[in-house]
Symmetry: C2
Subunit: 115 residues, 2 copies
């Protein structure tokens, strides 16, 4: 059960693009899992829960591999039983569709990790 957004390409918006506004962010957020929230119409934050440190570290690697593949790098916080993610498009100083596609991909990785 992951959003169709996860199947979209991660396309950089370009340096002269405008970040998404609040209404646009809200519409995209509706397509993500409960882990995610939009903060200050500026960035995305997620918290994913795990049963222990090892599984949280494995997910960190999944997210890291995705970040390298798509060349779109979030900040990740790893602690016992939890992985936090913070992400935005630095080139526009806010959120773009690429961030929401990345988020949907992480939701899918999380669902896969739990199977």
């Amino acid at each position: 059960m992951s959003s169709p957004l996860a199947d979209e390409p991660v396309e950089p918006a370009g340096d002269d693009a405008e970040p998404l506004d609040g209404d646009e962010c809200a519409d995209y957020l509706d397509e993500l899992g409960d882990a995610w929230e939009v903060v200050d119409d500026h960035h995305l934050e997620a918290s994913y829960e795990f049963p222990d440190f090892e599984t949280a570290l494995a997910f960190t690697n999944d997210v890291g591999a995705l970040a390298e593949e798509e060349w779109h790098h979030p900040d990740i916080s790893l602690s016992w039983g939890e992985v936090g993610v913070e992400m935005w498009s630095h080139e526009v100083g806010g959120l773009t569709e690429a961030d929401f596609v990345m988020a949907a991909r992480m939701d899918r990785l999380y669902a896969d990790a739990g199977e």
Copy 2:
């Protein structure tokens, strides 16, 4: 160039131990690399720098493997070119020698990663 502390065992202080006081923390801190600081005589924080995301992720895995091996788990923050570490001994609500030994081991892992 790593501290002899890194060769000490990571021994849990036990639930009834007292956390190290400010002077004791300062003495141990002298044995660590520049990445580390003691915050509020309560926990250790470090920031390690890297040339990119991939090497930072690799170090996160090194620290994660150490944490699992010694069963002493820090909080780790991973971003492009930087890994942050925050650590204390939860069972005593502060710092113990085990935290400083772990910190010295991370300094050694960092030195090894740069070779």
